[in-house]
Each structure stands twice: as C-alpha cells, then as structure tokens.
C-alpha cells in the first residue's frame, strides 16, 4: 500500500501512575513505550499481544481516549497529540471505536435505533435526517431496519455487534479502532462480522486498527501486523510474513498457542513445559 498514513505515531508512550494517596506508595506502570506505527489510509494494521501488552492502551491513545505521556499522534497529517476542546471533538468524529462486548457497549435502556442515532444527535443531526441515516446504517450492517425499535437484550450478540458497528459508522469516520470485535462472539457469527468489516472497509475506504489476541484472525483481516509485548512492539511485518516466518521468540510462542483444526497440539510436550514451571515454583 502506497497511500500516505492516516494514523501515525512517533515514540508514543503511556505510563500509568497509581497510589500516592493517603501516604500510599506511588506506583508507576509503563503500559506503552516508544511505539512508532503508521497505518496507511484504507489499510488495516493488526495488533496482537496478550492482555497487558498495551495493545488496547495504544488504540485508545490513537483516538485520544487515553492521554499519552510521551511521543506524538498524527491523524490525517495533523499532530493531534495535544489538541483539546472543540477541535478534539471535531476530530474525534472521524475516529470511532468498536468494543469487545457488544451487549455492554450498547445502552440497554435505549432501543437499537436510539443507540445508533446517539452520535448523530451529538453532532446536531436529529429528526428525519437522523432516522434516514439510521435506516441506511442498519442496512449497511446487515440489520433489518424494522428492528430499530427493539432493545439490545432482545437480539443476539452478533446482531448487537452489528448495531455497535453501525453506531461507530454513524458519523462517517475515517478510522475505526476495533478492539477484539469478535472475541465475544460465536465462531459462525465471527465470520459474519469479519466479512461485514471487510465489506464496509472496501465500500467506505475505512482505515482499521484491529486489535486481537487471536492470530488466526489477524492473518485474515490485516495487511500489516505489529506484535506487542510489555508495551513495546517486538515484531512487525506483513501479516503473511509474521504468520509464516515469525522472527521474535515471543511471536513464535503466540503462534504455538493457536489451536488448529487439523491436529491436536502436542500436549505431552506442553505439559512437560508446565511441570518445568512447577518445579521452579517452590
């Protein structure tokens, strides 16, 4: 992909500080450190790592939900690291997020239609225009517009995720941060949602950051991959290269963790490794 990067970071870092209250010791935790990424417009960067590797923190910093403590973020050619107020609000409509748990990310007391219309109302789009847009968004995401009056708990998890995607698309963003968007879904529904994400990307020219712990999905979804560990990027490359020829031992370790359909893992070898852990424990 030769397009200019839509999202770019330079030396991005985040250190969380906790404690220091009522005489408690201050603790510092480095969540992300020195991350340089560039996502070309219309492309997908996959980001893998375990919980605590900083992948979600990275994504949230990109859309300015978490304030970085080092480095800079550039969006659409502009440094947005320090913007605030109305400027940030106007920029944010171009960057949206889809969460892991579709049911938790929707307002349970509002209908599906109202959930999708909420970001529109935030930007002053109401009434008939809002209703028209909601209907279009629902169709785009494979939902039946007649379901707009139902509540999130009345539809399945896969449909809830479609609603969440429709809501994320409501303001016609350029960039979506997809934080484990299918991890909470059934395998057969995962495939539906992944296909939907690829379809709308092709149709609307969206740029994705796709965060997941499931390497099988990365290979399918992403062009480029960064592998994160302890807040740092330990490996990067095309999805194919990382899958077929991982360089970093940590990546190889992650790949070993992918369950395959063709054969069961070598449990005896794996349990021997666990026993090694046990003896070292005493």
């Amino acid at each position: 992909m030769t397009a200019a990067p839509l999202v770019e970071t330079r030396g991005l870092g985040k250190t969380f500080t906790s404690g220091g209250w009522w005489g408690g010791a201050r603790e510092e935790k480095v969540a992300v450190e020195g991350v340089d990424i560039a996502i070309p417009a219309g492309g997908t960067l996959g980001c893998v790592g375990e919980s605590g590797s900083g992948k979600s923190t990275l994504g949230r910093m990109l859309i300015r939900l978490i304030e970085p403590t080092a480095g800079s973020i550039h969006f659409d050619g502009r440094d947005i690291t320090a913007i605030g107020g109305e400027d940030l609000r106007a920029t944010r409509r171009h960057m949206q997020m889809v969460f892991q748990d579709p049911l938790l990310s929707l307002n349970p007391r509002r209908t599906i239609g109202a959930n999708i219309a909420r970001p529109l109302a935030n930007f002053g789009i109401r009434g008939q225009e809002s209703r028209d847009r909601v209907e279009r968004l629902m169709r785009l995401c494979g939902l039946d517009p007649s379901q707009a009056t139902r509540y999130p708990n009345e539809i399945s998890g896969g449909q809830c995720q479609r609603v969440a995607i429709a809501r994320a698309l409501a303001l016609e963003p350029k960039f979506l941060f997809l934080d484990e968007p299918v991890s909470a879904l059934d395998v057969s529904v995962q495939a539906q949602i992944l296909n939907l994400l690829l379809d709308i990307q092709a149709e609307l020219g969206l740029t994705y950051l796709f965060v997941t712990h499931d390497l099988k999905l990365i290979e399918f979804m992403a062009d480029e991959v960064v592998v994160m560990r302890h807040g740092r990027v330990v490996e990067r490359g095309t999805a194919e290269a990382v899958w077929n020829d991982p360089q970093h031992p940590y990546t190889r370790n992650l790949l070993d963790g992918v369950l395959r359909l063709d054969a069961p893992p070598d449990w005896d070898a794996l349990t021997r490794r666990l026993e090694g852990v046990d003896t070292g424990a005493a």
Partner: protein, 348 residues
C-alpha cells in the same frame, strides 16, 4: 501431580474408584428443558442423550442458544431460570441426579461433580482473598482437614496450577490477578474435592491465546494424572478438537452429530457441522471472505417439527421442514441427525 493431590489427604487419587473402567461416569438420556418466558415457551434442550466415559473428555459444541450450557448445568442440578426440566435422566453413580433431593445433590456438586465457568472473575468473590475462598471450598469438600492442613492444601492446589508464589496469590484479591490467573484459581478450587466429573463451560473463552493453551494443558494433565472425566463445553471447534476424545454437536437444543473427534473433524456429515468447520479462519489458505452460516439461530417452540437447522441449511428440502430426522449411524464412528445421511449412506 498425583503425589501432590493425594499427599495432603482428601480422597486419594489412587483409590479403587479411580480404576480404569469402561462404565460411563454419567449417562444422560432424554434430557429435555423448556424455557418459559414472557414471549412464550421455548424448548432449550430436546431429547439429549449421551454418556461420558471414565477419564474421557467429551466436547459439547454449539452456538449460543444451542442448549450446550443448559445441558451442562443440568448435570449439576442447576437448570438456569427460566428453564424447567421437562424430562430426562442422568445416572451418576447409579443414581438419577436429576431426581435426587437438593440436599443430596448439594453433597455431589462441587465434590464429585465440579464446575468451572467461562467468567472466572465472576466466579470468585471480589471481597475475599483467594486463600480464604479456597479455604471455604476446602472446608466444604474436605471437612476432615484441620485448619493448618487446609492452608497447606490450598497452597498445594495453587502451585499445582503453576503459581510460582502460591502464598502471594493466596493473599491476593481477585481484582489483583489476571483473567488467566483467576481461571487457574477456579480450577484449583474445582479440584478441591477431587471430582469424578469436571464440567468446563467455555473455560478459556475470556482468556488470551497463550493463556488458553496453558489452561487446556492443565486440563489435559489433570485428566491424565487423576483420570477425571471432563465435559468440555465450547463454541470453538478448534478448542474442542485440541482436547476432546468425542464431540457432540448441538444445534437448536438437539444433538445433530456425535462421534469421535477425529471422525467428525475429518468428515463431518451434518450440514451444520460442515458449515461450522468452514467458518473457522484457516491461515494456511488465505481467502478473501470467510464461509459463514446465514442468519442466526431462532428459538424453537416445544411442538416444533422438522429439522432444527432447516431454516439456515443450504440443502434443506420440504421434508426437512416437516419431518424431524432421527439420529442414525453415518460412517463407522458417527451418528447424525440429517435426512440426507440415509439417502446415500453419507455424503462425500
């Protein structure tokens, strides 16, 4: 591991009841559960029959709403509300655990039949330290142990699950541990009573890939060392494939296909099993789109006729919508509920 398990008492892992035998640890027949909701009555589980052999790992696969969790919970005498047990029998140790009084079930549950859930953090009490929670479990499962013996055993169980510093974990609260650590704590608790049957409901769904392998490896080792039978409930075929000896494919509350894991993975007969298998991303062949099953599973009324999958099945014909197929042999090692299997004795 056996030494550790037996070493501090409780029922010895080497006891005669652990001896390898061919008789099933549990035999379920005709399990039927209805859900009574404001919108009407739905059948969550319909006429489900299966056995779990001693030391066997049986995978129960299906989507949400397929009845897999309800079937598993029924074995604990815990049909979740608004579910109601309509019919069925589950023989465990010669007794029908679906019919025994709650007090007797209480004595089995958590001791002879243990359970680990898909939300380990929710399974733990957020306001008690891990050690105290293990102590409460041990108090119930092994009343003969003294306080000191219980503490020692709690630490033993934790180090058995790979904790480097069991004492530190015992002193922690659940929120101080990661999801994978919480699940290992939950497995340690499930082991407190040295169970015959462990029901693992999506044990790794909430966990990372690397942690998932670790948890599965512990389950594998557990079975090897203690001969515990495991009912592994999951929507993930790859996961079930990795651990189970036999697979039961559930859809719409009915068993659609059952057989050895090798047979079903190599040659699934039921269109649902085939579609499920095809929807798993396979990195060895890069495709532009994933195969998927159109639509979502719909709730079924108790008097539904026809094949449960007919509405989403690409090969459905009129007969599928009106006549319920029987579970019949297809291939050496498989039984399938599909009209098409008897036409040509199984498809290629």
């Amino acid at each position: 591991m056996r030494d550790r398990l037996g070493g501090t008492g409780v029922r010895s892992a080497g006891g005669s009841e652990r001896a390898v035998s061919t008789d099933p640890v549990v035999t379920v027949s005709g399990l039927t559960v209805d859900f009574e909701t404001e919108r009407g009555t739905y059948r969550a589980v319909n006429d489900v029959s299966f056995t779990i052999g001693r030391g066997e790992i049986v995978g129960l696969v299906g989507e949400s709403g397929s009845g897999k969790s309800v079937s598993a919970l029924a074995l604990l005498g815990l049909v979740p509300k608004p579910g109601r047990l309509i019919a069925g029998q589950a023989l465990f140790d010669g007794r029908d655990i679906l019919a025994i009084p709650p007090r007797e079930m209480q004595a089995l549950r958590g001791r002879r039949i243990a359970y680990i859930s898909q939300t380990p953090r929710a399974a733990l009490n957020p306001s008690y330290r891990i050690g105290d929670q293990l102590d409460i479990t041990l108090r119930a499962c092994a009343p003969e142990l003294t306080g000191t013996a219980r503490s020692a055993r709690a630490l033993d169980l934790l180090s058995l699950l790979g904790f480097h510093e069991p004492a530190r974990v015992a002193a922690s609260f659940p929120h101080q541990l990661s999801g994978g650590m919480c699940q290992r704590v939950c497995i340690a608790m499930a082991l407190a009573g040295s169970p015959d049957l462990l029901i693992a409901d999506e044990p790794t769904t909430a966990l990372d890939v690397a942690v998932q392998m670790q948890i599965l490896a512990y389950l594998y080792r557990l079975r090897r060392e203690t001969g515990v039978s495991i009912l592994l409930v999951s929507h993930d075929l790859a996961l079930v494939r990795s651990l189970a000896d036999r697979v039961i494919v559930l859809y719409g509350g009915e068993i659609q296909e059952v057989g050895s894991v090798d047979a079903i993975l190599a040659k699934p007969f039921h269109p649902y099993s085939q579609a499920l298998l095809a929807s798993v991303p396979d990195p060895s062949r890069r495709t532009d789109r994933l195969a998927y099953i159109e639509g979502y599973p719909a709730p079924v009324p108790p008097d539904a006729t026809g094949c449960r999958f007919a509405g989403r099945c690409a090969m459905a014909v009129d007969r599928c919508r009106t006549e319920r197929p029987n579970l019949r042999p297809a291939g050496a090692d498989t039984r399938v509920r599909c009209h098409f299997t008897d036409v040509e004795g199984g498809r290629a």
